[in-house]
């Protein structure tokens, strides 16, 4: 349902994305790993419409899409939690969770654009509790007053609750647990599994490799803007993955593993990784 073909994006001389291709379907959890600056966030931002790619194609549900803004991506069911969280510090928690989807008042008042702040606070609080088990004593507090972990919780809940209102969608999570405590990490893990079991596609970027193995079925390894290989979580291990990320192991060393893969996806990747040499 989500298919990227030869996506490229340059920042001046830096090739942040270099002919990245992959395919993923609803119900899957896929992980993108790689060293700092490998291009993971850039890939996610292209998928969410936050930035536009230079060349390549993107398809959602078989349809070619051309995102001009995150608004366009939202229309086809793509939600994202960004590494920098992208919250408005000067607004309160409720307004942030419902920004762009404000709850209208009932009846005539709602039709002329009045919003129900109390409902936004109440439903925001419930979503935070139900999805992540986080209790916020006051939803009136502006985001600038929150701790790093609380902000992350707000960002995750915002995207997850929007996704839950749709039949099927995609959620892109960039380092969603970096600032979270142990209990909240587990809750995020549970949330990811639940979203996938409902048929959503979950794409997660993380440096937390054990968690990646636990959650993802497939793991994409990026290096210098390229998607160098893809691993199945079941038949791989931590040391192989670390080797691939750092470059100690070349993808060609493990082609046997990749050869078992879904034909189209892996052949694309093999072609592009051979191209480097």
């Amino acid at each position: 349902m989500l298919e990227a073909r030869e996506l490229s994006k340059s920042y001046g001389a830096v090739k942040a994305l270099d002919t990245v291709s992959f395919r993923a379907v609803g119900g899957e959890v896929i992980a993108i790993v790689g060293d700092n600056g490998a291009g993971k966030s850039t890939l996610l931002k292209v998928l969410s419409g936050a930035i536009t790619h230079d060349t390549g194609q993107l398809r959602v549900g078989g349809e070619l899409v051309d995102f001009r803004s995150p608004h366009d991506a939202e229309q086809v069911g793509i939600e994202a939690v960004y590494q920098d969280l992208a919250l408005v510090n000067t607004l309160d928690v409720g307004s942030n969770i419902f920004l762009g989807r404000e709850i209208p008042r009932k009846g005539m008042a709602g039709r002329i654009g009045l919003i129900d702040r109390r409902a936004m606070r109440r439903e925001g609080r419930e979503a935070l509790r139900d999805l992540l088990g986080v209790e916020f004593p006051t939803m009136r507090r502006t985001v600038e007053m929150l701790s790093g972990g609380q902000r992350q919780a707000v960002a995750i809940v915002r995207s997850a609750s929007r996704l839950e209102q749709r039949g099927r969608g995609v959620i892109l999570l960039d380092e969603p647990t970096a600032a979270l405590g142990v209990a909240q990490r587990q809750r995020v893990g549970m949330l990811i599994k639940r979203l996938a079991s409902k048929g959503h596609l979950v794409v997660i970027v993380s440096h937390d490799l054990p968690t990646v193995f636990e959650l993802a079925s497939r793991i994409f390894v990026m290096r210098l803007g390229r998607l160098v290989t893809e691993l199945h979580a079941n038949d791989s291990d931590l040391s192989t993955l670390v080797g691939l990320i750092t470059g100690a192991i070349e993808p060609t060393d493990i082609t046997k593993v990749v050869a078992d893969d879904d034909a189209t996806a892996s052949s694309d990747i093999n072609r592009s990784s051979r191209g480097t040499k």
């Binding site: 969410s48 939202e74 992208a86 919250l87 408005v88 920004l99 762009g100 009045l114 006051t138 609380q150």
Partner: protein, 344 residues
């Protein structure tokens, strides 16, 4: 179990942030306290200050400044600035006066005036958005250009004999001057829009963090244009009120009106970096500016001192706002460090 843990952490955070709360209260209610203090000082210093007619006089004086301040506040909330509010009002005054003198009905002339304000705002926003200019420079260009345009149209001379708008500018309803009622009505409308509607919420979001708002699915460009257009229309309204009050269209207004308006906005704590703002406080800020001018006159202080006072007030207001915000940040950061230390 996990849930219980979190609850505790969050509560603890709340308990330690008491100094932050105190600072916030200072930031949120400081302006009200200051206004009260001002009233107290002037009423002690001058026996006539608290009289009904004088207070109504302050309100009347505030009515025009407060409209400019409101127009400016919307742009500042959106993270920009508009220096062209006064010449927009002057241009609108002239065009409405010419229209009325040409026999155009009042309602249509007013509509034309507001339309001109709309177009001026549209122009400002277009230059900023499509020519990638800072609002400061773009509206400075508008300020200068429009000033010249008005002088060209009028040949530098006032247009006299505009009586049709006298009821608006000089009339009273239930004993209250109509400009005061215009002020109250406009503030009520904009106040509701900013605090209760989707539009207000998104405008605040774009002003606070345009990129974050865009990523949340807000159509950023609309919220770049809207505040400038609203600012133009409200400035036009101010120009029409002034025309009604004076009975003539002046090609130039005093520069001090712009300074007063920006001072009122700064007093309201509408940070010049955007994203924050209480419309009620902008009204309070305007009243403070008008009260100081009035009080100093009552005390027979030279009007030159009004400039000095207003200027100092602007500096102190912005400084205090920044200092309090930084203190809040520092205090909440140190709270976080303490929490982290406690965890380790």
């Amino acid at each position: 179990m996990a849930t219980a843990d979190t609850t505790k952490v969050v509560e603890a955070d709340d308990a330690v942030s008491a100094p932050v709360r105190a600072l916030q209260i200072g930031r949120d209610y400081g302006i009200g306290g200051f206004f009260f203090l001002l009233l107290l000082i002037f009423s002690l210093a001058s026996p006539t200050f608290l009289s009904g007619p004088n207070l109504l006089g302050i309100l009347t004086a505030a009515s025009v400044v407060s409209l400019f301040a409101l127009a400016e506040a919307l742009v500042v909330i959106a993270g920009a600035i508009d220096l062209s509010v006064v010449p927009i009002a002057a241009l609108v005054g002239v065009i409405v006066a010419l229209s009325l003198n040409a026999g155009i009905p009042v309602w249509l002339a007013v509509l034309i005036g507001l339309g001109v304000g709309f177009l001026c705002g549209l122009l400002n926003a277009s230059v900023i958005e499509f020519m990638n200019m800072s609002s400061l420079i773009a509206t400075l260009a508008t300020l200068t250009t429009l000033t010249g345009v008005v002088l060209l149209i009028t040949n530098g001379k006032p247009i006299f004999g505009v009586t049709a708008l006298a009821p608006l500018g000089q009339g009273r309803t239930l004993g209250v001057q109509n400009p005061i009622l215009v002020m109250i009505a406009t503030y009520a409308l904009v106040g509701i829009v900013m605090s209760q509607t989707k539009f207000g919420n998104r405008l605040l979001a774009v002003g606070g963090n345009a990129e974050a708002a865009r990523r949340a699915g807000v159509r950023r460009r609309f919220y770049v244009f809207a505040p400038f257009v609203a600012c133009g229309v409200i400035s036009a309204g101010a120009g029409i009120v002034v025309l009604g009050r004076l009975g003539s269209a002046q090609p130039t207004f005093a520069n001090s009106i712009l300074f007063d308006a920006i001072t009122a906005v700064a007093l309201a704590g509408v940070l010049l970096s955007g994203g924050r703002g209480s419309i009620l406080k902008v009204l309070l800020g305007s009243l403070i500016v008008a009260t100081i001018a009035n009080g100093l006159v009552l005390l027979r202080v030279s009007s030159f001192w009004t400039y000095v006072t207003t200027g100092l007030l602007l500096a102190v207001a912005v400084w205090a706002d920044g200092a309090v915000s930084r203190a809040i940040e520092r205090t909440s950061l140190s709270t976080e460090h303490r929490k982290e230390a406690a965890r380790a």
